[in-house]
């Protein structure tokens, strides 16, 4: 175990934080959906997957398209799909036309996940695709900070530049989202519906519009995190499944429906995974177990304290 040095640990922590910030953005979408509609979308990861593919196809079709624009378009596409699905399938729940809405929502979003996954398998096939990094970094050597096209060394700790860009995008989008939710009228309207549906309709907010908007925004956030991460991971149509389970883990950790909780939960999961995989005694299995660490923490939290860190209501 002589490879475990202080620097190695700091490197694990840093990688954990970088990926955790992106997880946070993805989970923010799921928590928004839960807080307003009161359901967990089991198709969250599939929107993440679609977001990545939109960027892939856009960059293939228009080679010199600005990647940031591609990410925005991916957000728009996933937003529209989310809105259409909400209007067709979830809207009747609010009107009381559906018996046992809780079960309905679980099975329905599960069906949506299955559907979207196979649509993409149909279109792209089962083979992984890879998108080149969005930007090359300039070459710099300042001693503590060295940069090359694909890698940055921060105090001699290597970080992939694709990962850094993805995290940058996620941080900006998270900040925008926080601003939107707390400062704009629409954001406050969403918050109002999530806190007290009846009172929100008394002041004149149309709760079903907010449902649609929240679902669209939630799927958009998933789509944009996928769009940001498409350069980091190999993309396959079932890449959304681990993303879904990660989002579940995070919102349960952070407390279902809590936005700060989602961000914190994202960081915790990123760090747990990074350390779990880095410190597992058998390196040949470490990677295979990476996803299992988070799931284990998740199962324990569900059993011991299902309200998470910031839980407010079930």
């Amino acid at each position: 175990m002589d490879y475990i040095t202080g620097q190695f640990l700091v490197n694990l922590l840093m990688n954990g934080i970088l990926i955790g910030l992106i997880y946070g953005l993805m989970a923010l979408g799921l928590t928004l959906i839960f807080s307003v509609l009161g359901i967990v979308s089991f198709a969250h990861g599939e929107f993440y997957m679609i977001g990545g593919y939109v960027v892939y196809y856009l960059l293939q079709a228009f080679g010199n398209l600005e990647p940031m624009i591609a990410i925005l378009i991916a957000g728009a596409v996933t937003f529209v799909i989310g809105v259409i699905f909400e209007l067709l399938f979830l809207q009747p729940m609010g009107k009381g036309d559906i018996e046992r809405p809780g079960e309905y929502a679980i099975l329905l979003t599960f069906g949506l996940a299955f559907f979207l996954q196979h649509v993409m398998i149909g279109i792209v096939g089962p083979f992984p695709t890879k998108v080149d990094r969005f930007y090359d970094f300039a070459e710099i050597d300042w001693g503590w900070l060295r940069m090359k096209a694909a890698t940055v060394w921060f105090f001699d700790m290597p970080i992939s530049s694709s990962r850094l860009i993805a995290t940058g995008v996620a941080v900006v989008l998270t900040a925008l989202m926080i601003w939107f939710m707390s400062k704009t009228w629409t954001g406050r309207g969403l918050q109002a519906v999530s806190q007290d549906r009846q009172a929100a309709s008394v002041v004149g907010i149309n709760p079903s519009h907010m449902n649609t908007l929240a679902f669209g925004l939630g799927t958009m956030l998933a789509g944009m995190s996928g769009a940001a991460l498409v350069t980091v991971f190999a993309w396959v149509p079932w890449v959304g499944m681990p993303a879904s389970s990660k989002s579940f883990i995070i919102i349960v950790l952070g407390g279902m429906g809590s936005m700060p909780g989602a961000l914190l939960g994202g960081l915790v999961l990123g760090i747990v995974e990074s350390f779990g995989a880095g410190l597992y005694p058998d390196p040949s299995k470490a990677l295979a177990y990476k996803d299992a660490f988070g799931l284990l923490v998740f199962a324990l939290v569900l059993l011991v304290k299902p309200t998470g860190f910031f839980g407010r209501k079930l």
């Binding site: 089991f42 399938f89 599960f110 299955f114 559907f115 996954q117 579940f248 284990l296």
Partner: protein
């Protein structure tokens, strides 16, 4: 007037057909194989329907129990030389044991939380099987000793058919006993059920154990017939398929859920290669590239649909949930069953109406 129970007659006809199927399909072992596979799915879907539809426990770990039993049996056979029969028995018991554990852990969890927990459990099982390759064969899979020393599918067909019928009979007996009533009362209102003296803990765990064992035996039998299992078969989309089958059939009835599974499994086979009229072939052949872009490929006289048939079932699952909550097969069966009854009620109503009219004139 004596009523003939139409549903009963139908059931007997169905059974006769199922037992005669190998004779009908003589010389077509492929369809026999499809049929015996469909019985595996039917056992999965029906036991899930009992757990979810009757007991209201929306567990997504069903496919994991199937895997646990299969792997237990496979590993016992490989490392300790156990025969498939004893392996299957122990594997089934193992699934039941883990079912106790999961059922116990899930006691306090409802709906979404239960779903999330069981997905996590299922994924952990799959990831462990994937990672512990020295023991499980890892992603490359595990070879399992064939159930019978024969290449004919006829005996294995009957084994699966009998397994399906026996497990359906057991589940039917449970669903229509006091236990079934308790399970339903737990589903409708757990607190109220507990207040009325239903031992919620015991019955919830029991529901998990019974259904896990049925999933387990189905999986172990089936994979000994196939001779192979891989962790991919424990993936969530396979679980989705079980759910799609049960929902499209109808989760409130075991027969409907299993018929849904059989129907969908056959439909998936049929839809794999859609026959194309010979006159279309030239123009289709010209557009092979376009077809391929959309994940379709062209064979001699047929179009291969690949993933698109799954898309169809995903869509069907969503539409069934939205518009036909009782599934597609269950209402059909009910309608057939009611036909005899309906005529009677119509006659009765007419009679009582006349009676009322007479009373009306008197008053």
């Amino acid at each position: 007037m004596k009523r003939i129970p139409i549903q009963g007659v139908l059931l007997v006809l169905l059974l006769i057909f199922a037992f005669a199927f190998p004779r009908i399909m003589q010389g077509q072992p492929y369809w026999l194989y499809v049929a015996l596979q469909s019985f595996f799915w039917a056992m999965m879907a029906a036991s899930w329907a009992l757990l979810a539809g009757y007991a209201g426990q929306f567990s997504f770990a069903h496919i994991a129990f199937m895997g646990i039993a299969s792997y237990t049996s496979g590993i016992l056979g490989r490392d300790l030389g156990w025969s498939p029969i004893s392996g299957i028995i122990l594997g089934t018991l193992m699934a039941g044991l883990v079912g106790v554990l999961v059922g116990y852990l899930c006691l306090r969890l409802r709906r979404t939380y239960l779903a999330l927990f069981t997905i996590a459990f299922s994924e952990i099982v799959r990831l462990i099987i994937n990672a512990e390759h020295e023991f499980t064969g890892g992603p490359m899979g595990l070879y399992m000793e064939p159930l019978l020393e024969t290449t004919s599918y006829v005996p294995t067909y009957y084994i699966m058919l009998v397994a399906l019928i026996v497990s359906l009979a057991i589940m039917y007996a449970i669903a229509n006993s006091r236990l079934g009533l308790f399970l339903r009362s737990i589903r409708e209102d757990e607190e109220a059920a507990a207040a009325m003296g239903v031992h919620v803990v015991r019955y919830k765990i029991l529901a998990f154990v019974i259904t896990s064992m049925i999933a387990g035996i189905a999986g172990a039998l089936d994979h000994h017939i196939i001779g192979f299992i891989a962790p991919n078969e424990l993936m969530i989309p396979r679980m989705s398929l079980v759910i799609a089958m049960a929902v499209i059939g109808g989760t409130e009835s075991l027969i409907s859920a299993s018929l849904g599974a059989i129907f969908i499994h056959f439909a998936m086979e049929w839809l794999q290669k859609i026959p194309v009229p010979a006159s279309w072939m030239p123009s289709l052949r010209e557009n092979t590239a376009t077809l391929q872009q959309f994940g379709l490929s062209l064979g001699e006289g047929y179009l291969q649909t690949n993933a698109w048939r799954m898309v169809l079932f995903g869509l069907m699952l969503m539409l069934t949930l939205r518009f036909w909550r009782n599934g597609l097969i269950q209402p059909l069966l009910e309608k057939i069953g009611r036909q005899g009854v309906a005529e009677e009620t119509v006659a009765k109503r007419k009679f009582s109406q006349e009676e009322n009219e007479i009373e009306g004139t008197e008053a």
